[in-house]
Subunit: 327 residues, 4 copies
C-alpha cells in the first residue's frame, strides 16, 4: 500500500506517459506507443554491504548510452527486483529516468503477486518517470493462474495504469507461460502494447504475431539467444540481458535483421548463443554481473541468497565468451 499521493497523481502521470514518446505511432488517434528496438534489462548494482549503489547504476547507464538502444528496462528478472523493497524499486526507476536521455524509453518492471500491489506499483513507477510498465505474470499460485485469472489481472492493471503496459512471460523464473489465448484477448486492450516473451519458443512468438495482426501489438524477444528467429517470425525488438555486455553486437544483430541482411545476421547470431546462455540460464545474474566486470561495467555482488560463481563456473563462463571471440 503506497499511500494517497500516488493515487492523487494518477491523472497527471497518465497524461505525461501518453504524451512523451510518439515514435512512429500517433498515440492520440488510438495507435499504441512504439516500443520496437533493443533494450538492456539493467542490473541493480549493490555495494559490498548489499546496499543499492545508485552511483554505479548511473555510471553503467552512462556507458550503455553510447549504443543505439531504444531504451532501458529496469526491474526485469535481471534487476533482482524480488530482492528490492518498494521504495528501492521506485528509487531505481527515478534515478534511471534522470540519468538517461529523454528520447529513450524507460520500461519498468512493476509486477507483484497481487493485482492490487501491481496496480499501486505501476502507478508509482509512472509517477517517478517510467514510460511503460512491464508486468510479469504472478506465479506463486500458478496452479490457479489460468487464462481467466491472468486476463483479469492484466485487464485491471491496464485499466488503471497511466502508462502503457507490456506483458511479460518468463517461464524459467515463474514456471508459467502466459497462454496464447490470453495474450490474444489482452492484445485488444487499448493500454496493452506488447509482450516480452522470454520462453524461447519462436513458434509461439510467430503464432502470437499472427493472431494479433489486427491489433497494434508488439512482440519483443526476451533474450538475445533467439533474437534473429524472433525477428524472422515477426518480433520487433528484444530485451536482452546480453546487451548489458555486448551492447554493440546486439544492436548490430537487430539492424541486420531489420534490414534483411539475414546471412550476416545468422553468423552474428550464432556467436551470441553460448555467451547469451551463459549470462542467463546457465549462470544467471551472478554470471551476468561477473561478465559486466570483465567488460568495463560495474557488476559487483548480488543480494543473497544469490551466490557468487565458483571458480569452475567462472572459468566455464569465460570460455563461453572466448571461444566465440568476444574475450
Amino acid at each position: 500500500m503506497l499511500g494517497a499521493p500516488v493515487w492523487s497523481s494518477v491523472r497527471q502521470g497518465l497524461s505525461r506517459g501518453l504524451s512523451r514518446n510518439m515514435g512512429g505511432w500517433a498515440s492520440g488517434e488510438g495507435r499504441k506507443v512504439d516500443i520496437t528496438g533493443i533494450y538492456p534489462p539493467v542490473t541493480t548494482p549493490f555495494t559490498a554491504t548489499a546496499e543499492v549503489d545508485y552511483g554505479k547504476l548511473e555510471e553503467n547507464l552512462h556507458k550503455l548510452s553510447t549504443f543505439p538502444f531504444r531504451g532501458f528496462v529496469v526491474q526485469g528478472s535481471n534487476g533482482e527486483f524480488p530482492f528490492l523493497t518498494s521504495s528501492e524499486r521506485l528509487e531505481v526507476v527515478s534515478r534511471v529516468r534522470q540519468a538517461m536521455s529523454k528520447d529513450k524509453l524507460l520500461l519498468a518492471g512493476s509486477g507483484c503477486e497481487s493485482t492490487q500491489a501491481t496496480v499501486e506499483m505501476t502507478l508509482s513507477m509512472a509517477q517517478v518517470g517510467a514510460d511503460a510498465a512491464m508486468v510479469v505474470t504472478p506465479c506463486y499460485y500458478r496452479g490457479r493462474m489460468n487464462s481467466a485469472a491472468l486476463i483479469h489481472h492484466y485487464t485491471k492493471v491496464a485499466d488503471l495504469s497511466p502508462i502503457p503496459v507490456v506483458l511479460y512471460s518468463v517461464p524459467a523464473n515463474t514456471g508459467l507461460d502466459l497462454p496464447v489465448d490470453a495474450v490474444v484477448t489482452l492484445s485488444q486492450h487499448p493500454n496493452i502494447v506488447g509482450i516480452k516473451d522470454s520462453g524461447g519458443d519462436v513458434t509461439r512468438i510467430g503464432l502470437i504475431v499472427h493472431k494479433t495482426r489486427r491489433q497494434d501489438f508488439q512482440v519483443l524477444a526476451g533474450s538475445a539467444g533467439f533474437l534473429l528467429p524472433s525477428y524472422a517470425m515477426g518480433a520487433v525488438g528484444g530485451i536482452c540481458a546480453l546487451a548489458n555486455v555486448l551492447g554493440a553486437q546486439v544492436c548490430q544483430l537487430e539492424r541486420l535483421c531489420r534490414t534483411g541482411q539475414w546471412e550476416d545476421a545468422q553468423k552474428l547470431q550464432h556467436r551470441l548463443i553460448e555467451p547469451n546462455t551463459a549470462v542467463t540460464r546457465r549462470f544467471g545474474i551472478p554470471g551476468l554481473k561477473k561478465t559486466m566486470d570483465w567488460f568495463g561495467y560495474y557488476g559487483g555482488p548480488c543480494r543473497a541468497p544469490l551466490q557468487e560463481l565458483s571458480p569452475a563456473e567462472e572459468e566455464a563462463l569465460r570460455t563461453d565468451f572466448t571461444s566465440n571471440g568476444w574475450l
Copy 2:
C-alpha cells in the same frame, strides 16, 4: 526494511521465543522445541473489498480451537502471504497470537525472496508473538537456488532469528525441492528444528528422517493426503490445509497413527485423499475457502488474481466431499 524498532527488540524477542514452549524438549540443554502434532495453516479472510477481515480471522480461530491441534500456522501458502503487505503480515500474526491459547504454538511463515528481508520479517514476527518461523525456499531465481545457496540462506536466517526456524519445501508453488543434502546439513543448526515437506514424496521424507536421526530434527507432512504414510516413515506431525474444514478427522488420523492403530488409520486416510486434493492441488485456496463456507467457517473471497471457482468446479469440489461421506 522494517526499521529500527524491530532490531532493538531482537534480544527481548529472543528470550521470549525460547522460553515459552517447553513441551517435551528442554531448550536450555540444547534440545529443540517440540513441534509434533497437527496444525491447520489458517487462511486469511478478506472482506468484499479485499481488506483483511481480522474479525473473521478471530472467529475462525475460535471455532478451530475446539480441536486438539498442536498450534496454528499463519502465512503458509494457504494464507495468501504473497498478497499481503508487510504490515498486514505482522498484524495477522499479532491478532492470531492474541486470539489463540497460550499453550499452543504459533508458526508464522516469514519467508521472502531475499535473505535480508526474510531475516527482518522473522525478527518482526517474533516480536509480535510467533513461536517459530516457517521459512519457504526462495524461488524466483530457482535456477541458481542450489544447495549452497539455500544452506547459506537458511543458516543466515537461523543465526539471526530469535525463534526456532522450520524449513518449508513446497514444490507445487515454488518449483523447487529443498535438496535432501541441504536439509541434512541444516538439521545440525541449533536453531533449525524441523521441516514442513509438502512435496508428497514419502520416500524422501523417510530418507530425511533417516539421515537426520542423530539430530533433534522433526519432519512435518505438508498435507493430509499423505499424513499416514508420512507417520509410517517417521514424520511427527502435519500442517494440513484440510484441517481447516475437517479438523476433528485430521486430529483423529494423527491419534490413530501415533497410537499404532494402522488399520483404522488407513480407512480414515483413504477417505481424506480426495477432499484433500480438492482443497489443495485441484482447486487451491478458492476451493479451500469455499469449503470453509460449507463447514461453518468464514471462507470468503481471495485476493486477485485468484478467482472464484466456476460452478462446474464448485460442483466437482462438493462431490469430492460427498462421495467420501463428509457432506
Copy 3:
C-alpha cells in the same frame, strides 16, 4: 506376429493359467488370483558377446529361491525387455518357468507398443508358462495415451488373455502415469487382478486402493523405496529391484509390515532407501547388475546402448550400500 501355433493353443493356455494358482483366491467363483507378496524383477544375464546367458539366469534363480518370495517377475523394466527379440522374450519365460518352484508365481512382462502385439505376446507367454501377464503402458505416443485409449488397450488384452493381467505403470521409463480413473474402470474387468505402480506417489496408491475396494484388485508397490508406506496405504506386495540383491531384507520388511510391526519396519525401510535408489533411479540396471556381482549373483554386462558404470559411479553405488550397513 508370432504365428498360428500360438493362437491354436489359446484355449489350452487359458485353462492352465486359471487353474494353477489358487492361493487364497478361488478362481472359479469369480475371485481373482492372489498375487500378494514380494517379487524380484529378475535381470536378464548376458554373455560378454551380448547373448542371453540362460545358464546364469537359472543360477540366479536358484540362489533367489531360498527367499520366501511369492514368485518372480521377468521382463519388467529391469529385464531389459526392450532389448530382447520376441523369441528371446519367450525363451526367458520358458526357462524361468522350468527353473522355479511350481508353487511360486511367474509374472511375465508382455507389454508392446501396439495392442495387437501385446495380445500376441501375452498369449505366447501364457503358452510357455507365465501365470500372469504384467502389461506396461504403451508410451511412444504418450500425447494420445489418454484414459480412453489405455482403457481400450488393456480391455482388449485382458479380454483375450488366457492368464490374469497386471497393469504396470512406470512413469520414470514411460513418461506416463496410468490415470487413476482408468485404473478404477479396469479394476472391474474379471481378468485384471491388480497393478504394479512404480511412480512412488503413495497418495495415489492409497486412492487406487480406496476406489477399487469393492473389487478384488491388488496393488503392488513397484519399488522397495516406498514399500512400507505402500503397505500402510493398503498395498499387498511389491515388485522390487532391490530384492535381487537384498532378498532376505525385502522379505523381512514385507513380513514386518504384514504383521503390524511398524517400528521395526520403519528402521529397516530407512536403511533400504538409498540402496534402492542406487539400483533404480540413480544408476539403473548397470547399477543393479554391478551390485548383483558384489552379492554373489551374476550381474554381468547390459546390452548396448546401456553402458557400464564409471569408476566414480561405482564408488558412489558402493557407498550407498556400505553407509547403510549392507556391505
Copy 4:
C-alpha cells in the same frame, strides 16, 4: 535378429547406398550426401482390419510425387513404426522404394531400443532400398541415456551401416533431447550426415549449426511449425508431417526461405503454425490421418491403442485449417 542373408548383403548394400545420390556432394572425396530439402514423413495406411494397406500407401505416394520434395521419410514417428513388425517395416521401405522416383531420397527410420537391433534393421533397410537411415534416440532407459551412451550407440550404428545415418531427436515422443555435445561429437563421423531435430528449440538448432560448421553436417527441422526460423538459423530442410496434406505450401515456404524472400515466408509460415500443431502435438497421427482424408489422400484408421478423434476434436482440427484459409 533378422538372419544371415542380411549380413551377407552388407557389402552390396553399402556400395549401392553410397553410389546412388550424388546431389551437390561428391561422396568419394569425403563429402557427405546432400539431404537438403523437404520431406513428408509418410503415414502407414491400414485397412479396417488393421493390416498394412500397401496399395493405399502407393496411391498416397503417387499423389505426393507431384510436389518438389527432396524425398520421403518412412517410419518417422508419423509412420506408427512402433506398431509394425520387423517384416512390415522392411516391406514398407521396399514398396516405397519401388513406388517413388529414383532421383528422390528415401530416408528410413531404423531406430530400435537396442544398438544391435538398430544395426540389423539399418542393414536390412539398406538392402531393400533405403538411401539413408534416420535413427531415433533409444529412450526406454532415458535415465541412463547420457551423451556417452548415445555417442556409443550412434557410432556403432554408423560404423556398420552401409548407408548414411541421420540422427533423430524427438523429445515429445522420447522424453529425451539428444545433447548438443553428443551431436557435435557425432557430426565428425564420416557416415553421419545430419540430424532431424523435432524439439522446436531453434536456439539449439542454431547452436548445432554453429558448432558443426567445420563438418558437412546438415540440420533438418522436424516440423513445419518452425521451418522458417530454422532456416534463418541455418537449417537446410525439413521433415514435416504437414507436408502430407499441404505439400505445395510447405515446399513454397522452403523456396521462399532458400531464396531470401523472408517477408512472404513469414506470412506463409504464420498460416501454417496452427494446422501444423493440430496434426502433430495436438491431435497426433489420428489428426493427421483425418486431415489426409479431407485433402484427397488415404488417411484411414490408426493401429490400436491409438484411437480415432472424438467429434469435438475433429471439429477443432477442422477449425485450425479453416481459420487459416486452408479448408
